[in-house]
């Protein structure tokens, strides 16, 4: 323990860390120290932690490879408490804070001793690509079982099991120019756009802006590069037209320059957002940016070389070595061997040497490297082995040596005798791949550039790439490109760009790079030690080669077969190498093999950030009726109907006990059938239809006739789509000759209004008619039951005489002293008045009804009772008893179809299609269970012969089913093939628990079949 508190790899000086500020952290249960400015990865390296994880498939020990988002191995589980758990965090992107607690994502019982590593050691021959598909394919039914254990073995991190204490925000943003990446090109571009007066957003995923300039050896205007960064940022911060977003990843590029930026506001401070003055700030913000022009200055990722055992801890990217030394003051080892195909990677050896540690050798794949950096290495007396590469790393839990030999890259051959060198660190560089992920999200295909040996982004209109992101890796050229591309973006916007003065940079001679991806080995790829292409997904060169041998020629297929570039990696580290290997095996060029499409997100985003505040009670808006408060105060249980909260039932306390739903509904049903009940029906959709052609319109849109509906009368209407299937129903009332009020189902209100507008605007613009939603303007109170008339008479001036105010009439008048429309329509089969008043008056009227209602036993009821009562009468609910495949005739509602209307109304033609005319269509019937105690399950399938061998032909299903207190029996509505011809037949309903219920097919009208009660 005492030893672990030292930081053996920390330099005494240098870097951007604050050595006076020491931070404690815990990794895999051990305590370590780091400094402010560290990432978790740099602190682990400072402490000499080699193994940070076990690999996904082979369970091989893995160490830190990179210093940025391309890190494949150092995925950790963050969090000291259950609520703070975050899976899949890259240690290279997690700022260190005091008390940080992290664990390896994989490895059981721990990363040092892993039981699964046996698989890795024996592995290889036993786990080729497609291993899971091939081995666990049959029987298919067992895959779920296999998968559970495979996943447990693999380990992918875990999500927290308790609620997240943090909050997350969404922000909508607009700007003229969005610059992604604050490296040299991005800063130059942002400064140009900002000085030109454009509204600019500049975002960068790192803890600090500056990109490669933060660890650069270059001098800008004879000053260290980070001083120029500080100057530019200071100016940008002062400008009102600029928004600077550090710690902000552009994670997705969507249509029409809609880019999502994930800003992590507190993740560098603690595992949950720190509470300040009892206030918890949002942990992250998702900026929804709609940009005029987008400038991608996303830089490039270095490609590692693919050689044997290149996954042993101690193998790093050359650029990462430089970053750790120069930015974090950490040298991740003592003795370095560099294997490179280019000049730029020499920085790693120079930085290592300048930090006072030993550079054993540089293996340069080129014959006669002669750039300035090469010369600097020679000046320091560093041994350079020309035309050579590292063939193989030695060691198991840490690199102990390398085998280096001269190679012929083009012929893919080792040409010389291998030399073994002792070392503990290998840095490799196979060149630089522009980060084309965001450009690729737009669907634009990248193109191969032979000069830079990499793909450059394909760009849709309005997107620009600058600097390294399009292959311009030279610093001075990259800065100039940032200015030029910003000017181009501004020009597109019609703005004049103002030039900026660029800093002076010494020109440096750089030798040409050579193309090297997989390093040849003395043994053929399939027999050599594993050469990893994608360490995160454990994809090897042999795996890619095997895939090509098995006939996978498209890179998209190779990717899916091997899992290369899958998951959170998204091909950052290994895709180009994988393509190069496939190209070699298939004897094609890399562009001929193609490239895969990168998808959002660039790096993983927590669900919290995606969801923002749209969770819990804010997930969906809630709509309340004007009477909601009364329902709450009277103990209603609520049901969600669309966005509405509707009273479901009103349980009362009986003998000190709260009624069950069954008891409450039985009591409410009896009240309606015997006395009077009241329902808040305000949620029914109400559409006000006006105009000289309103009546004609109704005739075309409804199945039934409207030409003779007189003022003062109402009519039930059925609506079909043009395919003849029922889509909505409701009562429409004639208020005046050119004025109608249509009611729709609660859930269908918005869709039906849009439906009416569709027909009016696109097919019948010649009809003079308008539609207005008045759902919220009117509150609807349904009083129903034998006592309804007496109750209403007490508080209304309307003449309620049964001969003068008949069933299906409506009257205007006053109820409880306020203006009202009263409709005599019924959804219960009882004498019913639907009282409509302005929503503001609703509570007054409702309470007045209750003041007078006690005498009559007025009982509030909810949707459940409403359903029972309507089903007893065989009244359908569209969407419950119908499902988009049911015609009016299937429902037995021919009485509601105007076959002889002059206009071919919507749905008419389809009713004479062969399919709607055929026998054996499912038709609506009633079902009466033989055992009255049984309430059939809604959705239960209906069969004619329960003893039929499997598969049993199914002839229909239950659509609505309840217990009826009136019948003292279960009853149901159902659709049954040819049901109308099967009255009196017995059908069977086999249930999941093995029981089979028998039921008789009956009329769907169970109560008052002649409809006398509603006419009293």
């Amino acid at each position: 323990m005492s030893q672990s508190l030292k930081q053996p790899n920390r330099l005494r000086e240098g870097g951007r860390i604050d050595r006076s500020h020491t931070l404690h952290f815990t990794f895999n249960g051990k305590r370590y120290l780091g400094h402010a400015g560290d990432t978790l990865a740099s602190a682990l390296l400072a402490n000499g932690v080699d193994i940070v994880n076990r690999s996904f498939k082979y369970s091989r020990p893995r160490g830190i490879v990179a210093a940025g988002p391309e890190e494949p191995n150092a995925l950790v589980q963050l969090g000291s408490t259950e609520a703070a758990q975050v899976p899949n965090v890259r240690a290279t992107q997690q700022a260190l804070f005091d008390g940080l607690t992290a664990q390896s994502t994989n490895g059981w019982p721990n990363v040092q001793r892993d039981v699964m590593s046996l698989v890795g050691k024996l592995g290889g021959r036993f786990m080729p690509p497609g291993f899971y598909y091939k081995t666990f394919m049959a029987p298919a039914s067992l895959w779920m079982t296999y998968e559970k254990y495979i996943r447990k073995g693999a380990g992918l991190g875990r999500s927290p099991m308790v609620p997240d204490p943090d909050v997350y925000d969404h922000l909508n943003q607009h700007c003229d120019v969005l610059v992604v990446g604050a490296g040299p090109a991005g800063l130059a571009a942002a400064l140009t756009a900002a000085r030109s007066g454009a509204r600019v957003i500049l975002c960068d995923e790192q803890e600090e802006m500056g990109g490669s300039l933060l660890d650069s050896r270059e001098l800008l205007d004879n000053q260290p590069a980070d001083q120029w960064v500080a100057q530019v940022l200071e100016e940008l911060a002062r400008l009102d037209n600029v928004t600077l977003l550090a710690r902000t990843t552009a994670n997705g590029y969507h249509d029409h320059h809609f880019v999502t930026l994930h800003e992590r506001r507190t993740e560098h401070l603690g595992e949950t957002a720190p509470v300040v003055d009892d206030y918890r700030p949002s942990r992250s913000r998702m900026h929804h940016v709609r940009a005029g022009q987008v400038l991608l200055a996303t830089g490039a990722h270095e490609r590692p070389l693919v050689y044997a055992n290149n996954d042993v801890p101690g193998n790093l990217l050359a650029g990462a070595v430089s970053t750790y030394i120069r930015r974090y003051g950490v040298v991740p080892g003592n003795r370095l061997v560099l294997s490179t195909s280019n000049d730029h990677a020499y920085r790693a050896a120079l930085d290592w040497f300048d930090a006072g540690r030993e550079v054993v050798a540089i293996a340069d794949a080129r014959r006669a490297p002669d750039g300035d950096l090469v010369a600097q290495a020679r000046e320091r007396g560093i041994r350079i082995i020309e035309g050579a590469a590292v063939l193989e790393a030695k060691g198991s839990t840490r690199v102990s040596g390398v085998r280096v030999a001269t190679i012929d890259a083009a012929a893919f051959k080792v040409t010389g005798q291998a030399e073994t060198l002792a070392c503990d660190t290998i840095a490799s560089s196979g060149g630089y791949s522009p980060v084309i992920h965001l450009a690729s999200h737009t669907g634009a295909r990248p193109s191969w550039n032979d000069e830079i040996l990499g793909f450059v982004p394909g760009l849709v209109k309005g997107v620009h790439a600058a600097g390294s992101a399009r292959g311009i890796h030279d610093l001075a050229a990259g800065l100039a490109d940032g200015v030029a591309m910003a000017a181009r973006a501004l020009e597109t916007l019609g703005m004049t760009s103002r030039a900026i003065e660029l800093p002076q940079i010494d020109t440096r001679r750089e030798g040409a790079a050579c193309g090297l991806y997989q390093v040849p080995h003395e043994k053929p790829t399939l027999r050599a030690p594993k050469q990893f292409v994608d360490p995160q997904n454990d994809v090897t060169a042999a795996g890619v080669e095997l895939a090509t041998r098995e006939g996978f020629e498209s890179i998209e297929h190779i990717k899916r077969y091997t899992a290369m570039g899958f998951g959170t990696d998204q091909g950052k580290l290994g895709n180009i190498n994988g393509m190069a290997i496939a190209a070699r095996c298939l004897n094609k060029s890399i562009p001929e093999v193609g490239t895969t499409v990168f998808r959002p997100n660039y790096t993983p985003v927590t669900f919290g950030a995606i969801v923002g505040r749209h969770c819990r009670e804010r997930f969906d808006p809630e709509r309340y009726t004007a009477l909601h408060q009364w329902h709450v105060e009277n103990g209603a249980e609520f049901e969600d109907v669309g966005q509405w909260k509707r009273p479901w039932y009103f349980p009362t306390i009986v003998n000190g006990k709260k009624e069950t739903m069954h008891e409450a509904v039985a009591r409410e049903c009896r009240a309606v059938r015997e006395k009077v009940g009241i329902l808040d029906a305000s949620t029914l959709g109400k559409i006000d239809i006006q105009g000289p052609d309103a009546r004609e319109f109704l005739g075309r849109i409804y199945t039934n006739k409207w030409e003779k509906l007189a003022v003062g009368r109402a009519r039930y209407g059925l609506m079909c789509k043009d395919d003849g299937m029922v889509t909505d129903d409701g009562v429409t009332t004639c208020l005046a000759d050119n004025h109608f009020l249509m009611t729709t189902t609660t859930g269908g209100a918005a869709a039906i209004l849009e439906w009416l507008e569709l027909w009016h605007q696109t097919e019948w613009p010649e009809l003079n008619v308008t539609f207005t939603s008045v759902t919220d303007h009117w509150a609807t109170m349904t009083i129903t039951g034998p006592e309804a008339r007496k109750l209403l008479a007490e508080i209304s001036d309307i003449d309620l005489d049964r001969e003068r105010f008949k069933f299906m009439d409506w009257r205007a008048g006053k109820v409880a002293g306020v203006p009202a429309r009263v409709f005599r329509i019924s959804f219960t089969g009882e004498l019913t008045y639907e009282i409509n008043v302005q929503a503001n008056y609703a509570m007054h009227v409702w309470k007045t009804l209750f003041t007078h209602g006690e005498t009559y036993g007025l009982t509030p009821y909810g949707t459940e009772t409403m359903h029972v009562l309507r089903a007893e009468k065989g009244f359908i609910i569209v969407g419950q008893d119908t499902d988009g495949s049911v015609t009016p005739e299937d429902l037995g509602m021919q009485w509601c179809v105007g076959y002889d209307k002059p206009y071919s109304w919507v749905g008419k033609r389809a009713l004479s299609r062969s399919d709607t005319r055929r026998d054996g269509r499912k038709q609506l019937v009633g079902l009466r269970p033989k055992d009255p105690a049984v309430v059939l399950e809604e959705g239960a399938q209906i069969v004619l012969d329960p003893d039929h061998p499997v598969p049993v032909p199914m002839v229909g299903h239950v659509t609505s089913s309840y217990y009826s207190p009136t019948l003292d029996s279960g009853f149901a509505l159902a659709v049954v093939k040819g049901g109308h011809q099967r009255m009196g037949e017995t059908v069977y309903l086999p249930m999941a628990d093995g029981k089979t219920h028998a039921a008789e097919i009956v009329s769907p009208i169970f109560v008052d079949p002649k409809g006398e009660r509603q006419h009293v």
Binding site: H256, H257, G443, L758, E763, E766, S904, R909, R913
Partner: protein, 119 residues
């Protein structure tokens, strides 16, 4: 997420304000009863799925509630134009760069003389 110009509101608005309603310019047969089952089935169920230029019917559902058409490239998702009911597109599969203005005017004139069919 699309950024859609409503030709009635004359503003660019976010896609969430709109509903897509399928292929544009599908006129309901004037005399449905005269259609064969096959013709009626074609009208009801069969739609184009072009790679490239496509004309679509949209509605500004939570805006002005007006229906209008969009010419959109189904590959790049670029919206080339939006136009009102009764108007004809300038960009078509035959004229991916846009028809000349005179032709557009002549077509608009011809359409306005047809009665009833405005889709």
């Amino acid at each position: 997420m699309f950024h859609i110009y409503c030709p009635y509101c004359e503003e660019l608005r976010e896609e969430e304000e709109f509903h897509p309603k399928g292929q544009a310019h599908i006129a309901r047969p004037v005399d449905p009863e005269a259609c064969s089952d096959e013709e009626w089935g074609d009208y009801l169920f069969f739609r184009d799925n072009p790679r490239g230029i496509h004309h679509e019917l949209w509605v500004h559902a939570v805006g002005c509630r007006k229906f209008f058409n969009i010419t959109r490239n189904t590959v790049s998702y670029e919206i080339l134009e939006t136009y009102r009911m009764g108007e004809q597109p300038r960009f078509t599969a035959g004229h991916p760069e846009g028809k000349p203005a005179e032709q557009v005017a002549a077509e608009a004139e011809a359409v306005s003389r047809q009665e009833g069919v405005k889709a």
